[in-house]
């Protein structure tokens, strides 16, 4: 009988099935990893275990007894602790104060800081989680703040510790130390559930691994019976479900060239974009695949001029724009579809017509002498765009806020593509869209390709990257792991390996 068992857990959100009859169990003294891409349902499952979500179906058993966990309070009562990706600490309180927050004091209203400090000291010595109980949390570096979170869980006599992507905030050295601490927990009989999408870490810390994909369990394996290759294959899947009708286009001259581009993190540490180089020609789509948060957003913003470039060159039509303003880059025929359409791509309180001229309202025919707006031309432009791009809206003076996500995206597409850019960056252009709108976005981008434009297509949806791209670059921790052919010739296994941080050169089947 397993120490903790989750049986046939299902959870649906409005239109997605986050967990579909998922079974999962963990024993005392083991590290059981939940592996999967973003959106595979790992966090949902653990949020159910921690009482943050209630499952639509399924049961949870502890030591064979059915338990009901309807709030984190219940979970804590059952000695389940969870460390979230985003810490839940109060910066202006001390370590001790944070740890005892919410716990009853044995002497009524009086705080027993001294006693608590001693207890914390004992725990931290036992597991070598050294941190000064008196220091304020805001003065601690992120790695130590995480220790405080863990101490908080241990202080509440945790038997099951859930760690939601704990290493994403740590440096490689800190990760090593962190894994040693986890080992000490399991030696002490704790059950540890480790959520991750980083294969190398999973292989080094886990005893067992359960792979999730699209809300389903792909399989549960012992670490000794598997390797990173096999796991990567399980994570990504084998079938490509999307195919696009893509006429062949003659590759023309080089429109975008990126040379050794780096973007440093404001917080210091590893660069967010690290020495990235590629080029895109006329009539070509370069796809960028990768797990979310591996520097894709920063890469797109750096090319568009919204993020300062630390090193390297960005050449549009042979001209280095790396240190020019966004406006200058727009003038050099750069179009950009940002991932966050409501915050970046649109002014939602402006009308459709106003949004359509967001980048060129100062140019004729929309203004005369760069000063007086021509409302007539702005309106007729909107009428034309609404027809051409099939934007579902009663008239151009409607606020963009009232449009559906798909139609909002069409407003951006209309603006960016009608500007006839040489280079188009499309960052997650189909995120959150329904099937019809997604297809429309793909068509627009393919049309841009046919007209001889260069496109950088960035998405975390592997299917669409493979289907739409002529070539695919895979990003991992700010670096391009390699660039391989897209479309039918794409090598899925290789892409999944590169997404997990294995370089192209290290694999056997290298494609030039």
């Amino acid at each position: 009988m397993p120490f903790l068992e989750m049986k046939n857990i299902s959870k649906r959100f409005v239109d997605v099935v986050a967990n579909d009859r998922v079974c999962f169990d963990v024993e005392r003294g083991e590290v059981h990893t939940l592996l999967g891409e973003n959106g595979a349902g790992k966090s949902t499952l653990m949020n159910i275990l921690y009482g943050l979500y209630s499952p639509d179906e399924g049961e949870i058993y502890m030591e064979g007894n059915l338990v009901k966990i309807s709030s984190p309070y219940d979970a804590i009562e059952l000695h389940i602790g969870m460390i979230h990706q985003h810490f839940t600490l109060i910066p202006n309180l001390s370590v001790t104060e944070n740890i005892i927050l919410g716990l009853p004091s044995s002497s009524g209203f009086l705080l027993e800081l001294k006693k608590a400090e001693e207890n914390i000291d004992n725990i931290s010595r036992k597991y070598e989680l050294r941190v000064d109980p008196k220091s304020l949390v805001r003065q601690l570096p992120v790695g130590l703040q995480q220790r405080v979170e863990i101490l908080k869980a241990l202080y509440r006599n945790t038997d099951i510790l859930i760690l939601d992507e704990p290493t994403s905030v740590l440096t490689p050295l800190e990760v090593e130390i962190f894994f040693k601490i986890i080992r000490r927990f399991t030696e002490d009989g704790l059950a540890v559930i480790f959520i991750s999408h980083k294969l190398n870490e999973v292989m080094s810390i886990s005893d067992r691994i359960t792979v999730l994909r699209g809300g389903n369990v792909v399989g549960t394996l012992k670490k000794l019976d598997t390797d990173a290759n096999k796991l990567a294959g399980m994570m990504v899947g084998k079938e490509i479900t999307l195919s696009l009708d893509k006429p062949s286009v003659k590759k023309g001259k080089r429109l975008l060239e990126v040379r050794g581009l780096s973007v440093n993190s404001e917080k210091g540490g590893k660069p967010l974009v690290n020495n990235v180089s590629f080029d895109i020609h006329e009539g070509e789509i370069l796809g960028v695949a990768g797990v979310d948060g591996n520097g894709q957003g920063e890469l797109a913003d750096a090319i568009a001029g919204l993020q300062p470039v630390s090193k390297g060159q960005i050449l549009i039509n042979g001209m280095d724009v790396a240190h020019l303003s966004p406006r200058k880059r727009i003038e050099r025929k750069l179009g950009y579809i940002p991932s966050d359409r409501q915050r970046v791509g649109l002014i939602v309180d402006f009308s459709v017509a106003q949004n359509l001229v967001l980048k060129n309202f100062c140019d004729p025919p929309f203004s005369t002498r760069r000063l007086f707006l021509s409302h007539k031309n702005i309106t007729s432009n909107a009428d034309q765009m609404i027809k051409e791009f099939d934007i579902k809206v009663s008239h151009g003076n409607e606020k963009v806020a009232f449009l559906s996500g798909g139609n909002q995206q069409k407003v951006i597409l209309a603006r960016e593509i009608s500007g006839k850019p040489d280079v188009l960056i499309a960052m997650q252009p189909t995120r959150g869209l329904d099937v019809g709108s997604t297809r429309y976005v793909h068509q627009c981008i393919l049309q841009h390709r046919e007209q001889g434009g260069a496109t950088l297509f960035i998405s975390t949806e592997l299917d669409e990257v493979i289907a739409i791209s002529d070539r695919i670059g895979v990003m991992f921790e700010g670096e391009i792991m390699g660039i391989i052919p897209g479309g039918d010739r794409a090598d899925l296994e290789q892409i999944s390996l590169m997404m997990a941080g294995v370089r192209e050169q290290k694999t056997k089947k290298s494609v030039s």
Binding site: L346, I347, V348, L358, F372, L373, F402, G405
Partner: protein, 359 residues
């Protein structure tokens, strides 16, 4: 039709807020054992019944319009300029210096020069918080309040120190040159040319905001600075220019006050016009025409207060209470759109914006 009616009703929320404030003010007067109808009647008559009342109202409206235009412009562009009072004082100082130390110009030249001095002085006072916000993301509300106190005390120092007229009974400067004084436009009253200039500015600003690329850009920046930057707007530069012009307009309030009415720099020469300007800009939803109407309302409140005290026995400070209530209800009306009763909301929600989609 019903829907349009509701939308109109909602867009007029400042008027409802004002009426509720006046009603509650009436309740307060009643509680004090006085007659609110008599009080409001006296207030109105004091402000509008005769040429003296009207001229006093217009004289007080003038600096309110200037300063409120400045604040409204700032709000429009996302710069929360709550330091208009300090900028107004600096504008007064700038105008005084140009009026005192430039000699021998014809009024045709001296007046514009003096006004410009006031504009620039007020502009610089606002540019400091504006630059800090644009370049270093320093919260402008805090810095504007700091700058307000610095400005106030600086003027007090100037009027009682370097510019002090020896032998004067209070902290004041010498009189500025006659060529820098704004002419009176209604004989035997205090209404000066500044009033017409403020009206002209109302219409200029209305045109700029609705008909020009500058207005489009300011509005875009105010609604969504991230998207504006994405669209190629140089936010840092534009924010600096905006803060300068906003402060300049507040500076004009001080300059016209000195040039048209006081003719000398006094310490504490403004009874809080720059503070009222914040409320007015809110009340007007940053619309220039609305600013004009709301300024007139606040000017009338100030000018009718005396008559109210004499005729109805209600102390002039009651006007401050009413102003306070207006602030309160305007603030409430700002959150009202999310807070409408269900019967009111029913058919409007079909078109409610989809702010967040599924992740």
């Amino acid at each position: 039709m019903n829907l349009n009616w509701k939308r109109t009703a909602l867009s007029l929320s400042p008027i409802w807020a004002t009426l509720v404030a006046l009603a509650l003010g009436a309740g307060l007067i009643l509680l004090a054992g006085l007659n609110p109808i008599k009080a409001y009647y006296a207030l109105f008559m004091g402000a509008f019944s005769n040429i003296y009342g009207i001229s006093s109202t217009l004289t007080k409206t003038t600096p309110l319009i200037f300063a409120s235009l400045g604040v409204a412009l700032a709000f429009k562009g996302g710069y929360f300029n709550v330091g208009a009072e300090g900028q107004l004082y600096l504008g007064g100082l700038g105008a005084t210096l140009a009026g005192l130390y430039i000699h021998g110009l014809s009024p045709l030249l001296h007046i514009p020069v003096t006004l410009t001095a006031g504009f620039v002085a007020g502009g610089i006072w606002s540019l400091i918080p504006g630059y800090l916000k644009a370049r270093h993301e320093v919260n402008e509300i805090i810095t504007c309040i700091f700058m307000y106190f610095i400005g106030l005390l600086f003027i007090e120092y100037m009027a009682s120190g370097p510019l002090f007229e020896p032998g004067a009974p209070a902290a004041m400067s010498r009189e500025i040159a006659a060529s820098a004084q704004l002419p009176i436009i209604i004989p035997n009253t205090d209404v000066h040319l500044g009033f017409l200039m403020s009206l002209a500015l109302v219409f200029i600003m209305h045109l700029v905001l609705t008909k020009t690329t500058i207005g489009y850009q300011i509005t875009a920046m105010g609604l969504n600075p991230v998207a504006s930057r994405y669209a190629g707007v140089n936010i840092v530069k534009d924010m600096c220019v905006l803060s300068f012009v906003s402060g300049g307009l507040a500076g004009l309030a001080g300059a016209s006050e000195i040039m048209g009415l006081k003719h000398r720099l006094f310490d504490a020469f403004s009874p809080g016009y720059g503070l009222d300007a914040i409320v007015i800009a809110f009340l007007a939803k940053s619309n220039p025409i609305g600013v004009m109407v709301a300024s007139l309302f606040f000017g009338a409140l100030r000018s009718g207060a005396g008559m109210m005290q004499r005729a109805a026995g209600v102390p002039t400070t009651a006007v401050l209470a009413i102003q306070g209530l207006v602030i309160l209800f305007v603030a409430i009306s700002l959150v009202l759109p999310q807070w409408r009763p269900r019967w009111f909301r029913a058919d409007m929600d079909k078109e409610t914006p989809r702010k967040k989609e599924n992740e």
